[in-house]
Amino acid sequence: MTPLNRLQITWRAAQDIEDGEVVNLGIGLPVHCSDYLRPGVDVVIQAENGVIGAGPLAAHDKIDTDLVDAGSRRITLRPGASIVDSSWSFAMIRGGHIDVTILGAFEVAANGDLANWDMRIANRGPLVGGAMDLAACARAVWVIMEHVTRKGAPRLLERCALPLTAVRCVSRVYTDLAVVDVTPHGFLVREIVDGMSRDELQAKSGAPLAFAGDCKVLTAPPIALPE
């Protein structure tokens, strides 16, 4: 049984991005999805700070401190890019103009509730940023996360225990072990890694899993994690 590594999860999610979509990629792991789009797929990557058409990271000698994404990364613009203010950027998000957002998460509930903004870390201030806007308003909200916590506790749950980001918003979850849709009837497994039984996956999940009739093997090409 070979779980996907973090970049492989990202790769897998990126395979489902369709040609021509407007995509917002969350800070952290999700931004790497742009490296793994299927050949020929052309998308517009929207960053909350107003960059409509974010390109790859800037080369070291091409850095411009005013050209950044929502994660403060120094980026480039793709052809056809434009830049709007925050008011327009979030009007775009809230207005349903983002086809897909891919976000990290702590927990996802069987009804699609998402908890990804507040881990209740002692002695640290809250940090919500644009997470609630994206989760509540993108047309499709996909989550990338490890199937269980570092301590082995499930992240797919009947109800989220951590503070919610948005209610009933997640449509699909990509983990190191499976691809899981959130349906009106709860979690539906679309893909599962080779060598893992359905019972084993269920044991690592905190809510009932159904399995698609055509449930496939979850695979990804080898991708080395950076040191």
Binding site: A47, E48, N49, G50, V51, D64, T65, D66, L67, V68, D69, A70, G71, S72, R74, I83, V84, D85, S86, S87, S89, F90, A91, I93, R94, D113, N123, R124, G125, P126, L127, V128, G129, G130, A131, M132, D133, A136, C137, P163, L164, T165, A166, V167
Partner: protein
């Protein structure tokens, strides 16, 4: 007298700012922080400020200097977490109960500011419904969704960063420098822009990204 909003110094651009002011500070993702104005505000030293700023502690912003100097009573922001292992100046004071915090989803944050500048006292939004950040707020269903009523955030002072200003106060921005600057300028009684340079001639109309109507004073900082 021909309109001229250019002033000679950051200190001069803050004349009239007093204790208890609600202060907008632009900047997001590392771009657009009006750091010269922030420092000038610290030097001026008004007390009991309410800061309305995306991040209470960003590594490229000097906002923390206002907090360190104990000028701040309350922060309205979307990110209140420091970027180092130890709690930030803000976090320490917040945990000690010395600073009040209102944490707001970023789109709601910018829309509430826009609303103040646009004469809208409150609007409904789907963002934050069912979360603790909107606890206690009025909820209403439109169609098949639930929405939360959010009030405008008006301010006394906006400190924003732009690239160039002309004598009329018209502004241009470089790349992602814009972010909250335009809406913050619309929602403050006094809007001050720090710019890289003054434009000698009026900025051509199609290049203006914020009309000078919204800018009261501009100061060139390089």
């Amino acid at each position: 007298m021909p309109i001229d909003k250019r002033v000679a110094s950051a200190a001069q651009s803050l004349e009239g700012v007093g204790d208890g002011a609600t202060v907008f500070i632009s900047g997001f993702g590392g771009a657009g922080f009006p750091n010269v104005l922030i420092r000038a505000l610290r030097e001026r030293g008004p007390k009991n400020l309410t800061l309305v700023v995306n991040s209470a502690t960003h590594r490229y912003s000097l906002t923390h200097e206002l907090i360190d100097a104990n000028l701040v009573r309350k922060v309205i922001c979307t990110a209140a977490r420091g970027h180092t292992k130890d709690p930030s100046a803000f976090e320490s004071r917040w945990m000690e109960g010395k600073i009040e915090l209102e944490c707001v989803p970023q789109g709601t944050f910018t829309e509430r500011i826009r609303a103040a500048g646009a004469g809208i006292p409150a609007f409904f939004t789907p963002v934050g419904f069912g979360t603790e950040l909107t606890a206690g707020k009025e909820v209403r269903r439109f169609g098949e969704r639930d929405y939360v009523l959010e009030p405008a955030i008006a301010g006394d002072l906006a400190l924003i960063r732009a690239d160039t200003a002309d004598r009329y106060g018209n502004l241009t921005f470089r790349y992602a420098q814009m972010n909250f600057g335009p809406v913050m300028a619309t929602a403050a009684k006094l809007a001050v822009a720090e710019v890289r340079a003054f434009a000698e001639e009026p900025i051509p109309h199609a290049q203006v990204q914020l009309p000078g109507v919204y800018v009261d004073r501009a100061v060139a900082v390089s």
